[in-house]
């Protein structure tokens, strides 16, 4: 009986990776592909698009104090609808038509790792 239970547990853990389905969205990979071009590979706001012509500095995600002012919902909204939803620059693109909910969530979590902060509640 307990052996079956263990096997089941193992399958639950290994199943998704082994079969390739139901893979969780990979926040780091998404970040490097979509966001690093402006926010930089380490999230410091220094991607290759930030030349002298760039009108505003993309947020540096390693600034803990600044990032702590944002709730997860604030971050999520800006990712989905772009800068203007939070009275920020339209240079921050709207990604809501590009990314699905899981991918947006994975990115929110990834930004939390970069800032090493949990943000304000809400």
């Amino acid at each position: 009986m307990s052996r079956f239970f263990l096997m089941g547990l193992l399958m639950l853990i290994l199943g998704p990776t082994a079969t390739g389905v139901a893979q969780a969205a990979d926040g780091e990979k998404l970040f490097q592909f979509y966001c690093a071009q402006c926010h930089g590979t380490e999230g410091k706001g220094d991607g290759p698009n930030v030349t002298g012509d760039f009108p505003v500095d993309p947020r540096n995600f390693t600034e803990t104090a600044e990032m702590n002012k944002l709730s997860d919902a604030d971050i999520r909204n800006v990712i989905i609808d772009g800068g203007p939803i939070a009275d920020k620059s339209p240079m921050m693109p709207p990604w809501g038509k590009t990314l699905n909910d899981d991918e947006v969530e994975a990115l929110v979590q990834h930004l939390r790792q970069l800032c090493n902060c949990t943000g304000k509640a809400g």
Partner: protein, 222 residues
Amino acid sequence: MKTLASTFLGLMLVAMATVVAIARADAAAGKEVFQGSDCQSCHYTQGPATEKSIDDQLAKKGPELWYAGSKFQGPWLQAWLQDPQPIRPMKFNSVMEPNPGGHPALSADQAGPVTDYLMSLTSDAVKAGTVKVKKKNLKGRLIFIKKMPCSGCHQFPTKKKFSGGLSGPSLVGAGQRLNPDWVLAYLQQPKVFKPVKMMPVFVGLLSDKDMKNVAAHVATFK
């Protein structure tokens, strides 16, 4: 008189058929050059697009060419194949490394047929004549530099020289390089051409009219 006219007409038809046949023969010759020059090791020419994930997109060594005939303007393509200067400021599929250049070049003899071949690769998703190009499109300009972040990722010409971000292909000279109807189709049907890319999807954010205006504005880039 009547026979003369019909002889003339007949001759015209023969001439036209020959032109078409030569173009076809050139496309076939171009395909051979393409296949014999290792171009396929970096470019696929068989649609539809199969990329499903970021990994698929990053595995490619060069842009897909299966809709090259809908995307490019023939004269630009023929010249570029002989003198392939960088289009993307950054190395293909790299965020941080600059484009090292050095794309393989073709001789003038090869570039003509290869252009005919590549121009024969078209996509039904592109409808000819939908974008009306004028000298200026101020609505499109406003979208490009202000309402949307296009200029954050693409270089474009300005009065000084050029301006803009580096992660996307440079749009300097896009008026000579790209077919405006393809630019519209690219915005309207992003999944057809590039299912996974670093550029955001604008469907539902820009109206059809906005997309036409911005495509017409891109077509003014010298």
